[in-house]
Amino acid sequence: MRPGQLYLIAGGQHVALELRAAGEEVVVLVGERALRVRVREVEPGVLEAVVEDLRRMAFYAREEDTIHLHWDGHAYTVSRARHAAGPRGPEPEQDVRTPLPGLLTRVLVQPGQEVAAGQPLYVVEAMKIETVVRAPRPARVRRVLAQPGQQVEGGAVVVELEGGP
């Protein structure tokens, strides 16, 4: 464990935390709270976590800098961010990414066009369901990178936006 600052992304939010070693425990400063934490992997995919006086067995899975954790009836995904952000501010919006792989059935905007927040940009069909990808903010269309009828990957940028807040 390397003490110091750590930046996480969870539920679309950036969070800055500070970790300090304290004997067998770690003290994690989250917002205004300081939590004593002890964590061990007891079986592959099972953590034992002691947070303050609470002891819990939790299923988890790790992929590189991301941890999936089932805690108190819910699954959470927490990733390590490369850089800091405002304390628990929204994640800075970047390119619009296709939420899932599928068939690009329609593109509803053209380069140069101004779009409002929430305006449909293009439509992907996958698993028998049409998914409309919308502009996350007011912006201008810079480029359109794929044509209807093409298969697009999850995460692919089909419409590049510029401007906005």
């Binding site: 007891v42 790790r62 954790l69 108190d72």
Partner: protein, 501 residues
């Protein structure tokens, strides 16, 4: 229930023309009856649970449904080559395709479902409406499939809101509620596009949209000899954009008298249609207890387990026995309803992004198992959930002697359901089943779309952030850290006394 002869298997071998949880469900039912089983699969499903469970498995082709689970020729061929006597279509895919039923018949295979002609007649939503009218069952005002201009004029004549429905197919695909006349053309075009890719037919019909209504459906069983019984209703009002997500039996809005009237209508309609095998008649139910025919689903429903748990009748066993020509020995007056069952459908979808399907690898899976809870699952830990099919992972069904206890069981089961690695609707399902309106049984088909517009997935509590941070601050695990060390002392045993001494 359905008469069996000395418990001889109804068939020697059955091919299950489906995948996922419903294929697993049907394969198990066959095995219980002593029937040998054949699974079919697409290339991406080579190691899916249904393939591993079957006695034999035949690869149909590439992942695309048209090359695999929708490919009539290949499925019939697989059945022929493996010596299967019957084909069970499950739901979705070819289940309501009359050409498939016909192709099976021509190949000398028993199709586990109604005759092709009945599927065709009832699958055409417009013909089904007319059949219902002939049987004296109320229908909502509407207009048969037509071109865009005709439908738009009809919509204005009916008055908004109106409902667009695919004339072929089911499962809510292509359904659109149109409230704003200006949106009509756009919604119609979108519905036609969605429908053509699912059913190969873009015919859309129109119905007056009934506000604040419940979706209630009646399960029937019909044998080859004209006998039909109903197994009561299922309440399916909890829908997100016309897709059912939580179903229960009985309906909180249906009493004994209404159940008898609904059941009688369903029996009359299916009897007149010459129906054979298991089927479902869907109705809308208004606040005054008036009901209107919606459509007939000529197959096993996703939500069939709630009826099974409450009536004690195994619908898949019944389907197989009826298909084998057995007589239905169950009398209507013998059907009894005991307790309450609720089902929640677990989907691989991302509630944060408008519930788009969220395919990916299941890194960790622990399904809940408690008394009174049944999980019909179609996935395994380590599996890649493919992008090409319906994103259902499993159904969690809770039974108890009364509705509050059944709901309580369902909540516990959903909270104990561990799926890591892909997004699911589990948190959303929990929000729905713990909502006060649902708990009170006071919901219409608009409930979910109205009550959860501002819902978002729960933020991680500080404990989760602290634990995650502690783990992430360590080196990413090498393989070694995941070793099982079976000879060790129980590692849990090392830490004691942190609870009350």
């Amino acid at each position: 229930m359905v008469g069996t002869v000395n418990n001889r298997p109804p068939f020697s071998k059955v091919l299950v023309a489906n995948r996922g949880e419903i294929a697993v469900r049907i394969l198990r039912a066959c095995q219980e009856l002593g029937i040998r089983t054949v699974a079919v699969y697409s290339e991406v499903d080579a190691t899916s649970p249904h393939v591993l469970l079957a006695d034999e498995a035949v690869c149909l082709g590439r992942a695309e449904p048209e090359a695999s689970y929708l490919h009539v020729g290949r499925i019939v061929d697989a059945a022929r080559r493996t010596g299967a006597e019957a084909v069970h279509p499950g739901y979705g895919f070819l289940a309501e395709n009359p050409e498939f039923a016909q192709a099976c018949r021509e190949a000398g295979l028993t199709f586990v479902g109604p005759p092709a002609e009945v599927i065709a007649a009832l699958g055409d939503k417009d013909r089904a409406r007319r059949l219902a009218q002939v049987a004296g069952i109320p229908t909502l005002p509407g207009h048969p499939p037509a071109d865009d201009d005709t439908l738009e004029r009809a919509a204005h004549a009916l008055g908004f809101p109106v409902l667009l429905k695919a004339a072929a197919g089911g499962g809510g695909r292509g359904m659109r509620v149109v409230r704003d006349p200006l949106q009509f053309r756009h919604a119609l075009a979108s519905a036609r596009r969605e429908v053509v890719s699912s059913f190969g037919n873009d015919a859309i019909l129109l119905e007056k949209y009934l506000q604040d209504a419940r979706h209630v459906e009646v399960q029937i069983l019909a044998d080859r000899y004209g006998k039909v019984v109903h197994l009561g209703e299922r309440e399916c009002s909890v829908q997100r954009r016309c897709q059912k997500i939580v179903e229960e039996c009985p309906s909180p809005a249906v009493d004994t008298d209404l159940r008898a009237r609904l059941g009688e209508a369903a029996v009359r309609l299916t009897q007149q249609a010459g129906y054979v095998n298991a089927g479902t008649v869907e109705f809308l139910l208004d606040r005054d207890g008036c009901f209107y025919f919606l459509e007939v689903n000529t197959r096993l429903q996703v939500e069939h387990p709630v009826t099974e748990l409450v009536t004690g009748v195994d619908l898949v066993h019944a389907q197989l026995l009826i298909a084998a020509g057995h007589r239905l020995s169950l009398r209507q007056e013998e059907v009894s309803w005991r307790g309450h069952a609720v089902e929640a459908r677990v989907y691989a979808e991302d509630p944060e992004r408008g519930f788009v399907p969220s395919p990916g690898r299941i890194l960790r899976l622990r399904e809940p198992h408690l008394p009174g809870v049944r999980v019909d699952s179609g996935v395994r830990e380590g599996q890649m959930v493919p992008v090409h099919y319906d994103p259902i992972l499993a159904k969690v069904v809770a039974w108890a002697a009364d509705r509050p206890t059944a709901l309580s069981r369902l909540v516990h089961a959903l909270r104990e359901y561990v799926v890591l690695g892909l997004k699911t609707n589990l948190a959303f399902l929990l929000a729905v089943v713990t909502h006060s309106a649902f708990q009170a049984g006071e919901v219409s088909t608009e409930f979910v779309d109205e009550a959860f517009t501002s819902w978002h997935t729960p933020d991680p509590p500080p404990e989760v952030l602290a634990v995650a941070a502690t783990v992430l601050a360590q080196q990413a695990p090498s393989g070694a850290s995941a070793s099982r060390a079976p000879g060790d002392l129980d590692p849990w045993g090392r830490l004691r006394g942190l609870r009350l001494p």
